[in-house]
């Protein structure tokens, strides 16, 4: 009798631990539950759901994006920082949606725009191509903002910028691409051949910008060499 008491106690604790483990694991919200919460009348619940769904299922977070972006603007909820943080982590899977948001909402707040730009930067080279396509299309008025994004991306964005430099139909965009490469300095060395070709363009503005960019890239490289 006395020898079985410690064994009984150990068994009871084991059962309790198993029950607790089951309890904890069963408490996880499913994607469907998060999506259902996106329709809540409480904006805080919606914001939490958007964050939760994005964290749990980044690729499947499309339905949560609008609410996530709204939450970024809702200073009264106090979730804007977390929403912006989560947007950065899921942005790479939803680049077209984010670009569309920039195009559609010209009057969006600086906070929201900043969060989208950060997300695009973190998305890296996967976003560079769609950004360039956006600049050539409906997002031509976003040169300033998307240019900031490409600059912040750095070297991974160079192939896309070179494409813009060589293939854009609008010479102003080609100018802009040369400008971006110049701003990147020595890290844009791989863009030099394209810049040299642009320096022979018939367009005077493009020639000038390309030459300036070449100087910036090469000067920076020379300084680095010293």
């Amino acid at each position: 009798m006395l020898r079985s008491d410690p064994q009984d106690a150990r068994q009871k604790w084991t059962h309790l631990a198993v029950v607790l483990l089951l309890l904890v694991s069963s408490c996880k919200k499913s994607n469907e539950q998060w999506r259902a919460d996106l329709d809540s009348s409480d904006p805080y619940v919606r914001g939490l759901a958007a964050i939760g769904l994005c964290m749990q299922s980044p690729r499947g977070a499309g339905p949560a994006l609008p609410e996530l972006l709204t939450t970024i603007d809702r200073s009264d909820l106090g979730l804007e920082r977390e929403a912006a943080q989560v947007l950065v982590s899921v942005g790479q899977y939803h680049v077209p949606a984010l670009l569309q948001e920039l195009v559609d909402e010209e009057l969006m707040s600086a906070d929201r725009k900043g969060a989208i730009k950060n997300a695009l930067v973190v998305a890296g080279p996967e976003a560079a191509g769609p950004i360039v396509a956006c600049l050539e299309g409906p997002g031509s008025f976003l040169v300033g903002d998307l240019g900031d994004v490409l600059l912040a991306m750095g070297e991974p964005a160079i192939p896309a910028i070179v494409d813009l430099l060589e293939q854009a139909r609008d010479v102003r965009l080609r100018n802009f691409a040369a400008y971006l490469l110049g701003r990147m300095g020595p890290s844009a060395r791989s863009g030099l051949p394209a810049l040299k070709r642009a320096a022979e363009s018939k367009d005077e503005g493009l020639r000038g910008m390309a030459l300036q960019a070449i100087i910036s890239v090469q000067a920076g490289a020379s300084d680095a060499g010293r």
Binding site: P43, I51, L77, E82
Partner: protein
């Protein structure tokens, strides 16, 4: 014999049937379990929000659950002492009141999920107090009873004080006891101009308003004081000397304090009234309602769920917290004025320097002030037309979503203002004034629209409620168009009045308020 007597149960320790304690503890157990479940189910976002505090939260809720479970287990097994029955309920009240105060101090603004989590902690604290009460030896019982009495009395006093303050606020409204939501206050802080921020060569004052420094009205000053509250129309998109409030000051020989914050709506006007305007002791308050977007705003007070809980758990709704804060601000204001060598009742303008720009200098610096043809558009035409179209759809084809909110905000403003008269000014959207823009908007919506529906809805209510109001729509549509067919009263592609529009509006306000201000001067004169 003595040993036997000491083992007999004392009357106080008599154990009674434990139905009520068991029921309450069982309820507490369910609440604690629910709180823990919520914390676990929402662990992804909560972990992000709380960071390193998430695990302690989980641990705390688990401990709470354990305490309640143990208390219930003990009650079921051992019974419940008769002496502790009343303590059970007293400690319950104490736990809830202390939880309430901690929530107001530490967990703001109110959100339902934090309340649900906090409940788990409160019941755990209650269970602990009950366990201590029932487990104490005779030596500590007396001390514990005194502590219980004191904390219970204090908690009852606090709740009673809050109830009395709310009763007082209801029957004798005043600026000091007005309760406003945290949401509007935060929006005001977020969108308010920065102190010293220069706009059109003129710096915003120390409160972040695009005007001279504000000072409390001097009873000896014969000039009436009008507090003009509004959104970006009250801020203005023109040099300060060309704003309608500046022009009204000249035309009416009165002081017009322009209390404007861009991007706000009716709920925030109430906040500005209570926090900024009424402390100045104005003779009259003029609230500018921009019909274009003040009828379609999100309001933290009305549309959010759990209004009953918010009324007690949102700090700006609780007078115990609000009153000390307001008194402290008034004291700071008096100290600030003293450091400038002024008393709180000093006449404004005696010691200020010359203004950095007058109307002539401003017109020279900004030629578009005198010639609307020189204005440059603020937005792209497509964006602007899209914006105006969206507004038209919201206010010209259906009942505006926030009409009721606007009504409640104006009623609350009038209550908060007490005896200070409140006047309303309805500012139309540009598509209601410019015919060409109206044609563009109508074409884009492709559906029948009632151009002045919003004014119609508002005016019926304002008249029913006895508000005196100025409708600017007929004033502005009464202005003859220029050669190109437009009236040019709004800045190009901007939605706000230009200098020409400000002049027209100032004239209308002057006509509207002239009698009021003369009456105020007469009253002031007769009081001397």
């Amino acid at each position: 014999m003595q040993a036997a007597e000491s083992q007999l149960p004392r009357p106080d320790d008599e154990v009674t049937p434990s139905l009520l304690p068991s029921a309450l503890l069982l309820l507490g157990l369910l609440v604690a379990l629910r709180s823990l479940w919520i914390a676990l189910a929402n662990r992804l976002p909560l972990n992000l929000i709380l960071g390193s505090r998430y695990l302690p939260l989980l641990l705390g809720l688990s401990v709470s659950l354990g305490l309640v479970a143990y208390a219930l287990f003990r009650v079921r097994r051992v019974g419940f002492p008769a002496r502790a029955r009343a303590s059970l309920l007293r400690w319950l009240l104490v736990s809830f009141v202390i939880g309430w105060l901690l929530f107001l101090a530490l967990v703001q603004p109110f959100q339902r999920i934090w309340f649900d989590l906090a409940l788990g902690g409160v019941v755990g604290a209650w269970a602990l107090l009950v366990l201590i009460t029932t487990g104490l030896g005779s030596r500590l019982t007396q001390i514990w009873r005194v502590a219980e009495f004191l904390t219970f009395s204090l908690c009852v006093g606090l709740v009673g004080t809050e109830l009395c303050l709310r009763g007082w606020a209801m029957f004798a409204p005043s600026p000091t006891t007005a309760r406003v939501g945290a949401g509007p206050g935060e929006l005001v802080e977020r969108f308010r101009c920065q102190p010293g921020e220069v706009r059109f060569g003129y710096p915003c004052n120390s409160r972040g308003f695009y005007d001279e420094e504000f000072f409390r009205r001097d009873p000896g000053d014969s000039r009436p004081l009008v507090a003009a509250i509004g959104d970006s129309f009250s801020v203005g998109m023109v040099p300060h000397s060309w704003h309608f409030t500046s022009i009204c000051e000249e035309q009416l020989d009165a002081r017009f304090d322009s209390i404007g914050v861009p991007g706000i709506g009716p709920a925030e006007y109430l906040t500005l009234l209570v926090e900024e305007a009424l402390p100045l002791d104005p003779d009259l308050v003029l609230i500018g309602i921009f019909v274009g977007n003040d009828l379609n705003v999100y309001d933290a007070l009305v549309e959010l769920p759990d209004p009953g809980l918010r009324a007690w758990l949102q700090r700006d709704q609780v007078l115990l917290f609000v009153l000390p804060e307001r008194i402290s601000r008034l004291r700071s204001e008096a100290e600030r004025l003293e450091s400038l060598g002024r008393s709180i009742a000093s006449v404004q303008g005696e010691e200020t320097e010359l203004r950095p720009d007058g109307r002539e200098q401003a017109a020279q610096a900004f030629p578009w002030v005198l010639d609307p043809g020189l204005e440059e558009g603020t937005l792209s035409p497509d964006t602007y037309h899209g914006l105006e179209t969206e507004r038209a759809l919201q206010i010209c084809s259906q009942d505006p979503v926030s009409l009721e909110l606007l009504r409640e905000s104006l009623s609350a403003a009038r209550r908060a203002a007490g005896e200070t008269p409140v006047r309303v000014m309805l500012i139309p959207d540009e598509f209601q004034v410019e015919d060409e823009l109206w044609e563009i908007v109508s074409r884009r919506t492709g559906r029948p629209l009632e151009r002045t529906r919003a004014q119609g809805l508002l005016k019926v209510w304002l008249e029913d409620e006895g508000f005196e109001y100025l409708d600017l729509l007929p004033v502005l549509t009464g202005v003859a168009p220029l050669e190109d067919g437009d009236r040019h009263l709004y800045h190009k592609l901007d939605t706000h009045f230009n200098a020409r529009g400000n002049e027209v509006v100032a004239g209308a306000i002057a006509d509207f308020l002239r009698e009021d201000l003369e009456r105020i001067r007469e009253l002031r004169g007769s009081q001397r």
